[in-house]
Symmetry: C2
């Protein structure tokens, strides 16, 4: 499977069963005037856990990345379940530390644990399930971006990618743990959806992947202004120190959980007020335009062909 | 962790977060006059996949064991998601065969796939999530068994445990695949709940574990008549051929998915009619009585201390 890539693999297996599958961050099941949102995300030791990282940090990361998918749909996360497969030699203190990290994240967002599964296996592998709710007319999907909408982003990019590079360079677990430092953008997602954004996605596979996905689902293209993409200071330092391109850390690296969304310009004043009240910032990085993803940089326009990070790609 | 056992481990981690956790086969979230039921169950190569077993068979088993938890609550399964962590060397044909097996089971029970996750990892590890629904006043929980209720069982016991023993003995993959042959008792669960059963659980960890769990949740004991427990012919043959005790294969072996339930004797005629209409049989194996699990055999009564199969127990 190593040369097909995750997204083509998923297309290849859809024919195997009856499905009802909006290509969104979470599944949405009608429930009266709301949707119940359900999402699942897994991490395994070999793919996602930097060696030496504290179990508590891993737990927080694990819960946060699941809540992020609910946030990207404009939903309020309510419940959480986890299915843990752990080697027999795992220590009880490690398990408790992991669960405390999970609990720290869930507590922050008012989410309750309603069940789970605990099994023995050769490699540590943890699957989270987050359940949330959103009003039907406020749901944020990947489809919905309209010509002329603004393309916006919460937060800054490149911190996690830079931490990964620093960790690879130095082996210092401090950087490994920084890779795991993420926050689900829950209040941001709710405010954005209340203001009537037209589409949204989280950046779990990086900015380019998110743009490609939003564009594909909405049948639109984007014109992005390079100079408007906010870059984290650690990425700038790491570029200077290790000579690694900003693109690599900030645009193509999976493992960041900011929200990318589109919104009509006439809704901007409402969004600015809502963001002020909720206490978060966002950047306007471009516009919905045409059918390709175009990056404008130093007056030149280049078409982005990268689809960002994918599992099962060499 | 290897000496604590799964159930004590779960108790040990509950303090780590805010939880709302009925000790049932699936979590239940109020949704108007119904409950949305959600459950998760994982399998990994080292713990659950007999070497040489066809991927299609594994897929069917994987879906079935998740639907079983919905069935045990009296629910109708509606949706399914899977989070697959697979090694990079997995073949696309293997993945498709796995998904076809999943699809075969879901198709049989009218269940739709609404999303999932696909990741790369060192060991194959698959987590399923089944979502279903049940009327609020028809939900079957583990608590609810009342003194004097009948203890009943769908199907026969010991086939999967016997297949495991034969597989260990012969190495023939035919037996390995037979271990995976299970059916979620969906129509049975619905009929049982419509007839007003007082409690139910599936036999995923074996009969003794199920009795122990029902008893603990209901605060009751059981008197079980050994001669009334229906034993599969393969278990009888395997006892004669390999000299393995029936208890080992039929009472203590996890991996069977019949339903154990309790029901008031005055509801028995209704249940018999409903079972006839739905086309399934069940056995009355004992009575809710006292506070211990007692097995009556050849006129003698013995208290059962075994709690059946548990992960993380040597």
């Amino acid at each position: 499977m190593a040369d097909l890539g995750e997204r083509r693999l998923i297309e290849a297996i859809k024919g195997c069963y009856d499905y009802e599958w909006e290509d969104d961050d979470a599944a949405s099941i009608p429930a009266g005037r709301a949707y119940t949102l359900i999402t699942t995300d897994s991490i395994s030791r070999s793919s996602h856990m930097p060696k030496g990282a504290g179990w508590d940090k891993v737990g927080y990361f694990f819960a946060a990345l699941n809540l992020s998918d609910i946030a990207a749909m404009g939903g309020r996360p309510e419940y959480f379940m986890s299915a843990l497969t752990l080697p027999a030699e795992t220590k009880v203190s490690e398990l408790r530390s992991l669960e405390k990290g999970i609990g720290r994240c869930l507590g922050k967002y008012g989410v309750k644990v309603i069940g789970g599964d605990l099994k023995q296996g050769a490699e540590m592998c943890m699957t989270g399930i987050a359940i949330g709710t959103v009003q039907k007319d406020r749901i944020l999907r990947r489809r919905g971006a309209k010509e002329g909408d603004l393309v916006c982003l919460t937060g800054k990019l490149g911190r996690n990618g830079a931490a990964y590079r620093m960790w690879k360079e130095t082996g210092n677990k401090k950087w490994g743990e920084m890779m795991l430092c993420i926050e689900p953008r829950v209040k941001e997602g709710i405010a954005i959806s209340q203001c009537g954004a037209s589409s949204a996605i989280d950046l779990s596979d990086g900015l380019f992947a998110a743009l490609w996905q939003l564009g594909k689902s909405s049948g639109r293209g984007f014109e992005i202004e390079y100079s408007r993409i906010p870059i984290d200071s650690l990425a700038l330092e790491t570029r200077d120190r290790l000579g690694i391109g900003i693109e690599d850390m900030a645009f193509e690296f999976g493992g960041e959980y900011e929200l990318l969304f589109t919104i009509s310009p006439r809704r901007l004043p409402m969004l600015e007020k809502a963001a002020g009240r909720a206490g978060f910032g966002f950047s306007i990085i471009g516009e919905v335009k045409g059918s390709a993803v175009v990056l404008r940089r130093d007056g030149k326009a280049e078409t982005v062909r990268s689809r960002g990070y994918e599992h099962f790609r060499k």
